[in-house]
C-alpha cells in the first residue's frame, strides 16, 4: 500500500456537474496550488476565472503568421512577375497592388489558419498520445459526462493527506491516485535503423536525377510522358500514299504567288538585265561587311567542296578521293580563268539553280542552293568568290610596297 502511494503521480477527483467542479476549482486555487488542471467534456464557461488561467498568447502568434503570409505573397508576386520573369500584359505595370490583392489575401489567411491549429496544439503540448491520466479507468468519462480535477504530485504544496482531504471535502464523488505505470517509451532500435535507411534511400533518386542532369549522353533524353514529341503526322519531304504526286507537302498552287514573294526585280533575283543577259556587276553595294558576310556564307556552303581558297580541293573532295575516285566529279577550281571571266550574274545563277542540274530528276553536276541561301547572301558570296579569284591570281605588284618584304 505504501509503495503504491509513493509511486502516485497525483490525485484525481471526479465530480458530477460542472457547478461542483467549479466550486472545487475555486477551493484548490485558493489553496495556493499551481500544478493542477480540470478536465471536462465541453468547455465550461467561468472555469478560467475559477482556476486563474491567464489569457493565451495564441492571437499574437497568429498575427505574426498572418503578416508573414502577407509579406510572402507580395514578395512572391513582385519577384516572379515583375523581376524574374516580367509579364507584360496590355502595357500594365509589372507589379501593382490591386491585382496582387486576391493572392495576398489568400496567403495571409492560409498562413494564419495553419498557424492557429498548429499553434494551439503546440501551446497545449499536443499531440501527447501517452498520458498517465489515461491509466485511471474512470477518466474515460472526462470526454463524456463527468468532470475531473487532477492535482499533480510535483506541485510544491502537494502533500498527500492534506490534498486528499481538500478534494474529498470539495464535493467529489470519488478521489483516486494517478498510478505511475511504467511504460517503455523508447523506440525499438530496429525502427531507428529502418528510419535511417529510409532517409538515405530518399536521396538516391534525387542523386540520380542530379547526376543525369549534369552529364551528357549520346542517347535521346528519357521521356516519361511523350507530350507532343511523337506525333502521327507527316514531315516535310515524306512520302504519302493519298496525294497524286505522293508528297506530304502540298506546295503553292500553280500560278499563285505568296504575299511578299513576287520577286519582280530580275537583276536582283535572277542576275539578268531586261534583255536576259547576265549582269556584269553585282547589283549590290560593296562594303567590308558584305564581304565578311560573303566569307561566312561561303565557308558554310561552298568551302566543303570548293575549298577554303576556292581551288576546288575541299574536304568533301579529299574524302571522296580517299574513299573511291570513280564517279566523283571534281568540284571546279573557282579561280580558273573561265570562271574569272564569267559575269557576276552567271555565278549568281550557278548558286541559285546549280550547274548542269536537272530539277526533275534531282541530278546534275552541282545542286542549287536557292533553298538554303537568301538572294542578298548569294550576292555576298559572289563578291567573296571574286575576292578569292583576285587573291589567287595576284602578282607581287598587288601587294602594297611597304608590305612586300613580309612575304
Amino acid at each position: 500500500m505504501e509503495q503504491q502511494e509513493a509511486k502516485a503521480l497525483g490525485l484525481l477527483a471526479e465530480y458530477e456537474t460542472p457547478q461542483a467542479l467549479m466550486a472545487a476549482a475555486e477551493k484548490v486555487r485558493d489553496g495556493g496550488y499551481k500544478r493542477w488542471d480540470t478536465h471536462t467534456p465541453f468547455p465550461v464557461h467561468g472555469i478560467d476565472d475559477a482556476m486563474g488561467i491567464q489569457p493565451t498568447i495564441l492571437p499574437w502568434i497568429v498575427l505574426g503568421a498572418g503578416a508573414t503570409g502577407t509579406l510572402t505573397a507580395l514578395l512572391l508576386q513582385w519577384y516572379t512577375n515583375g523581376v524574374d520573369y516580367p509579364f507584360l500584359i496590355s502595357g500594365k505595370p509589372l507589379f501593382s497592388w490591386v491585382p496582387a490583392f486576391p493572392v495576398t489575401f489568400e496567403l495571409t489567411v492560409l498562413f494564419a489558419g495553419i498557424t492557429t491549429l498548429l499553434g494551439m496544439l503546440a501551446l497545449n503540448r499536443l499531440p501527447r498520445l501517452h498520458n498517465p491520466l489515461f491509466d485511471v479507468k474512470r477518466f474515460a468519462r472526462a470526454t463524456q459526462d463527468r468532470f475531473f480535477l487532477a492535482l499533480d504530485a510535483t506541485d510544491p504544496l502537494f502533500e498527500d493527506s492534506s490534498a486528499r482531504a481538500l478534494l474529498e471535502g470539495s464535493g467529489a464523488t470519488a478521489v483516486e491516485d494517478v498510478p505511475d505505470v511504467p511504460t517503455n517509451e523508447n523506440i525499438p532500435s530496429w525502427m531507428w535503423q529502418v528510419a535511417i535507411v529510409l532517409v538515405f534511400a530518399t536521396f538516391v533518386p534525387l542523386g540520380l536525377i542530379a547526376a543525369s542532369y549534369n552529364s551528357t549522353s549520346t542517347t535521346p533524353p528519357f521521356h516519361i510522358v511523350g507530350d507532343m514529341d511523337w506525333q502521327e503526322s507527316y514531315r516535310y519531304g515524306e512520302e504519302v500514299p493519298f496525294f497524286d504526286n505522293g508528297q506530304a507537302m502540298r506546295g503553292a498552287l500553280p500560278g499563285t504567288v505568296a504575299v511578299g514573294e513576287l520577286e519582280e526585280d530580275d537583276a536582283f533575283y535572277r542576275g539578268m538585265d531586261d534583255m536576259g543577259n547576265w549582269l556584269a556587276v553585282a547589283p549590290v553595294e560593296v562594303s567590308k561587311s558584305v564581304l565578311e558576310r560573303g566569307r561566312e556564307r561561303y565557308n558554310i556552303y561552298c568551302l566543303p567542296c570548293h575549298g577554303e581558297s576556292g581551288n576546288g580541293k575541299g574536304i568533301v573532295h579529299e574524302r571522296a578521293l580517299a574513299l573511291d575516285t570513280s564517279g566523283w566529279l571534281i568540284p571546279r577550281d573557282l579561280t580558273m580563268d573561265s570562271i574569272v571571266t564569267q559575269p557576276d550574274g552567271q555565278i549568281y545563277d550557278t548558286i541559285t539553280n546549280g550547274f548542269n542540274y536537272d530539277a526533275e530528276t534531282g541530278t546534275g553536276n552541282m545542286a542549287p542552293y536557292a533553298a538554303q541561301i537568301r538572294p542578298e547572301d548569294r550576292w555576298a558570296i559572289v563578291l567573296y568568290v571574286r575576292a578569292l579569284q583576285r587573291a589567287a591570281n595576284a602578282s607581287i605588284e598587288d601587294v602594297p610596297a611597304d608590305k612586300r618584304s613580309a612575304l
Binding site: 460542472p18 488542471d37 480540470t38 478536465h39 471536462t40 467534456p41 465541453f42 468547455p43 465550461v44 472555469i47 478560467d48 482556476m51 488561467i53 493565451t56 495564441l58 492571437p59 497568429v62 512572391l76 516572379t80 512577375n81 524574374d84 520573369y85 509579364f87 500584359i89 500594365k92 491585382p99 496582387a100 486576391p102 493572392v103 489575401f105 489568400e106 496567403l107 489567411v109 492560409l110 494564419a112 489558419g113 495553419i114 492557429t116 491549429l117 499553434g119 494551439m120 496544439l121 497545449n124 499536443l126 499531440p127 501527447r128 498520445l129 501517452h130 498520458n131 489515461f134 477518466f139 474515460a140 468519462r141 472526462a142 470526454t143 463524456q144 459526462d145 516519361i224 510522358v225 507530350d227
Partner: protein, 465 residues
C-alpha cells in the same frame, strides 16, 4: 420514441412566446454520446444494411469515375463536348456547382459562430464535412480539365524547366489560390472541431483497433480546461479568418468570368450574386443530405424541425437575392445601352438555351418562394423536394452562364450550339459517387454531430431553468 419528440416539437412551435429548445427529448450528456457515437458504433446492428447498399452504389459510381478519368487522361479532353466556341463546357459548370455547395459548411461554422447562432451546433459538423467533400469534387474538375495533368504543377509558383512563373494577374491563378486555401482552412477547421469528439469516440471504444485509431487522431486530448481555453481562442480566430475567406472564394470564382470581356460575364454584380448563389445551393444541399440522415439514424431530437425551418429561411432569403440578381442583370443590360450585352441576355432567355434558362428560373426563383408558407417550411417532404429543385436549378445557373455567353459571342460566324457527350454526363455523375462515398465514410467513422458543442448548449439550457 419519435412520436414523443414530435409532440414536443409541435407544442413548442405552436407557442409563439417560447422558442423550441435546440436539443429535445430530455437529453443528457450521456444520452447525446449514445445517440451520436451510436451511429458509428452500432453500425453492425441496425442501420448497416441501408448503409452498405448505399456505400456499394456510391463506390461503384466512384469506380466508374476513375475509369472515365483514366480514359480522359490517356485520350484527351476531346472526349468531352468542349468544342469551339464553348471550350469551357461542363467541367467548369461542375466545378462552380460543387464549389458553390462547399460554401454552406464554413458559412455555418464560421459566420453563424461569430453571430452566436447556437442552432448551428446541430448541423455544423455535418455541413463542414459536406464542404470538404464538395471541395474535393470541385477540385477534381479543373485538375482533369487541364488536359496534360502531369504538368498540373505549372499552376503553382514552383520553379520549373521552362524557367517561367504563373501569371499572377490572371483570375484563374487567383482561383487556384482561393480554392486551395479554402480547402485547407476548411479542413483545419473541421479537424479542429473533431478533436474533442474523436477523444470521446476513443474513450467509448470497445475494440483495440477502434481505440488506437481514434487515439491517434484525437492527439491525446484530455479535455483539460487549460487546453479548452486555447482551443476556444483558436476556434474563434479560425472562425474570424474563415468568414472573409468563405466570402472571397466565390468572389474569386466569379472573377474567372467577370474579369473576361465577354457579354453576359463582364459585370460587377457577379461577386455578390455568386456568393448569394453559393450559400443558397450549399444550404439546399444541407437539407438534401440532412433530412434522410436524421430520419435513418434517429437524430430528430438533435437536428430538430426548428433547425430545418431556419435553414429553409436562409434558402428563401438567398433565393430571393439570386432572383433579384437575375432581374438586375437584365436591367443593367438594357440600361447600359450596349447592344452586345442586350443581345447576350435576350439570347439567354429566348435563344436556343431558353429551356435551360427557364428551368433555372423555376427552380431557383420560384420554388424557394414556397417557403413563405409556414406549412411548407415545417413539412419535411416539402423541404426535401424543394431542396432538390434548388440543387438542380443551381447547376443550370452555372450552365446558363457558361454556355450561353460562349456559344454566341461577338463573331456570329463562330456561333455554335453546345453538344455534351456521354462522357460529360458520366463525369458529373461520377463526381456524385466521389461525394457520397466520402460522405458515407464520414457517417460510418466520424462523429456526425459536434458532441462537445451540443453538450455546451445543453448545459446552457439547463442553467437557464
Amino acid at each position: 420514441m419519435s412520436s414523443q419528440y414530435d409532440l414536443e416539437i409541435q407544442t413548442a412551435l405552436e407557442d409563439p412566446t417560447s422558442r423550441p429548445h435546440l436539443v429535445m427529448g430530455g437529453a443528457t450528456f450521456a444520452s447525446i454520446d449514445d445517440d451520436v457515437a451510436g451511429v458509428s458504433e452500432g453500425f453492425l446492428k441496425k442501420t448497416s444494411l441501408a448503409w452498405y447498399a448505399m456505400f456499394g452504389a456510391s463506390i461503384s459510381v466512384l469506380a466508374m469515375l476513375g475509369a472515365v478519368v483514366v480514359y480522359l487522361i490517356s485520350t484527351g479532353v476531346g472526349i468531352w463536348g468542349n468544342q469551339s466556341p464553348v471550350f469551357w463546357g461542363w467541367p467548369i459548370v461542375n466545378f462552380v456547382f460543387w464549389v458553390g455547395i462547399a460554401h454552406a459548411g464554413t458559412l455555418i461554422s464560421a459566420i453563424l459562430f461569430l453571430l452566436k447562432q447556437d442552432w448551428r451546433t446541430s448541423i455544423n459538423r455535418f455541413a463542414e464535412a459536406m464542404t470538404i467533400f464538395a471541395v474535393c469534387c470541385a477540385g477534381l474538375f479543373p485538375a482533369i480539365h487541364v488536359g496534360r495533368i502531369w504538368v498540373v504543377y505549372w499552376l503553382f509558383p514552383i520553379p520549373n524547366q521552362m524557367e517561367m512563373w504563373p501569371n499572377f494577374r490572371s483570375p484563374l491563378l487567383w482561383d487556384v489560390f482561393a480554392v486551395s486555401t479554402y480547402a485547407t482552412v476548411s479542413l483545419l477547421f473541421w479537424y479542429m472541431g473533431l478533436i474533442p469528439d474523436l477523444a470521446t469516440f476513443r474513450d467509448r471504444a470497445t475494440s483495440k483497433i477502434r481505440q488506437g485509431a481514434y487515439a491517434f487522431f484525437s492527439l491525446g486530448w484530455t479535455g483539460s480546461s487549460r487546453h479548452w481555453h486555447r482551443y476556444e481562442k483558436a476556434y474563434l480566430i479560425l472562425a474570424g479568418l474563415a468568414t472573409p475567406l468563405v466570402l472571397s472564394v466565390h468572389t474569386v470564382v466569379s472573377f474567372d468570368f467577370a474579369v473576361s470581356q465577354l457579354p453576359g460575364w463582364h459585370t460587377t454584380i457577379f461577386p455578390p450574386y455568386f456568393v448569394a448563389g453559393a450559400i443558397f445551393s450549399g444550404f439546399a444541399m444541407v437539407l438534401t443530405l440532412m433530412i434522410p440522415v436524421r430520419a435513418i439514424f434517429g437524430l430528430q431530437h438533435i437536428v430538430t424541425l426548428r433547425h430545418l425551418e431556419v435553414v429553409s429561411k436562409v434558402i428563401l432569403a438567398t433565393g430571393s437575392m439570386v432572383g433579384y440578381a437575375y432581374a438586375m442583370e437584365f436591367f443593367v443590360a438594357w440600361y447600359s445601352g450596349n447592344p452586345y450585352e442586350q443581345f447576350a441576355f435576350t439570347n439567354r432567355a429566348f435563344g436556343p438555351y431558353a429551356w435551360a434558362y427557364w428551368i433555372m428560373v423555376s427552380c431557383n426563383v420560384i420554388s424557394p418562394q414556397l417557403f413563405w408558407f409556414k406549412k411548407l417550411r415545417q413539412s419535411v417532404p416539402a423541404l426535401f423536394v424543394i431542396s432538390i429543385f434548388v440543387n438542380i436549378g443551381m447547376w443550370f445557373e452555372r450552365f446558363v452562364i457558361t454556355v450561353t455567353s460562349l456559344s454566341r459571342d461577338f463573331l456570329p460566324g463562330s456561333w455554335a450550339y453546345f453538344q455534351p457527350t456521354p462522357f460529360d454526363a458520366l463525369t458529373l455523375i461520377g463526381s456524385f459517387g466521389l461525394f457520397f462515398t466520402l460522405f458515407l465514410l464520414f457517417i460510418r467513422f466520424l462523429p456526425i454531430i459536434a458532441i462537445s458543442e451540443i453538450k455546451g448548449i445543453l448545459h446552457k439550457q439547463e442553467s437557464h431553468h
